[in-house]
Symmetry: C2
Subunit: 130 residues, 2 copies
Amino acid sequence: MPPAPQLPRPTDAELEILRVLWDLGPSTVRQVHDLLSRKRDVGYTTMLKLMQIMTDKGLLLRDESERSHVYRAKQKEAVTQKQLVKDLVSKAFGGSTEKLVMQALSSKKATAQEIAEIRKLLDEMEGGAQ
Amino acid sequence: MPPAPQLPRPTDAELEILRVLWDLGPSTVRQVHDLLSRKRDVGYTTMLKLMQIMTDKGLLLRDESERSHVYRAKQKEAVTQKQLVKDLVSKAFGGSTEKLVMQALSSKKATAQEIAEIRKLLDEMEGGAQ
DNA sequence: AGTCTTCTACGAAGACTTTCGTGGTTCAGA
DNA sequence: TCTGAACCACGAAAGTCTTCGTAGAAGACT
């Protein structure tokens, strides 16, 4: 198959919708709107339009077999997150992932368990890699 | 002193300029343009306009005592980076800094030295925190 | 002084983002 | 069948981002 064409970086509003779809799984505009309108005052047709645009961009896939179309994220959460991190690293950290990691860690009080998890990941990287 | 008002998140083009100013220190439009135009085809007045807008937004400070105005970043690199990381964490990682760190680490082959540095930071966090 | 270069200011075009109103269609309930 | 509710498509407005052309002021050079 052809190499997956790079999808555009989601905008803020688009990311808000993606997060809902990653959490709920395939959903209708109504479901997404019900959830987001609890946090923010936003019209139904605004969500609809955004999700249509996202489908045009390739960010979402749409199942039109039912009257209420069902949307789902084209890419998995982790793939998009990786893309966003990579983008931020190159735009704001001069390409240094370590700087980002250090910045993130130092500006956050992590719990002992979280620290342990990160250590574990570091162990794996050191052990298995190369 | 009053609490520093939150500056707007820099856009991509603005970040490009900020990076130059953080690297070079206070600079004229000419200097910034000379450097950036080597990487990208961009007009002088485009840079000028952008830096004027950034000054209006409060992202830059301008010294007008000379004919060629001298611009510098209002915030230190680390402060802006922290803001951007926080923003990405909340918008794309559901508020979990650890998820971002894990994602960043797992998508990058870090060198042994880099891993060691991160470990050191984790040690400090565990030791000194609370 | 006259000319050429360099600078700032201004305005505006074009693209993108976010918002929502209107209109037409489909479906359920009276 | 008629009415109302829910849905989608469409268009457009308002805001932001990025771009650059033009004009005028300031300096440098001859």
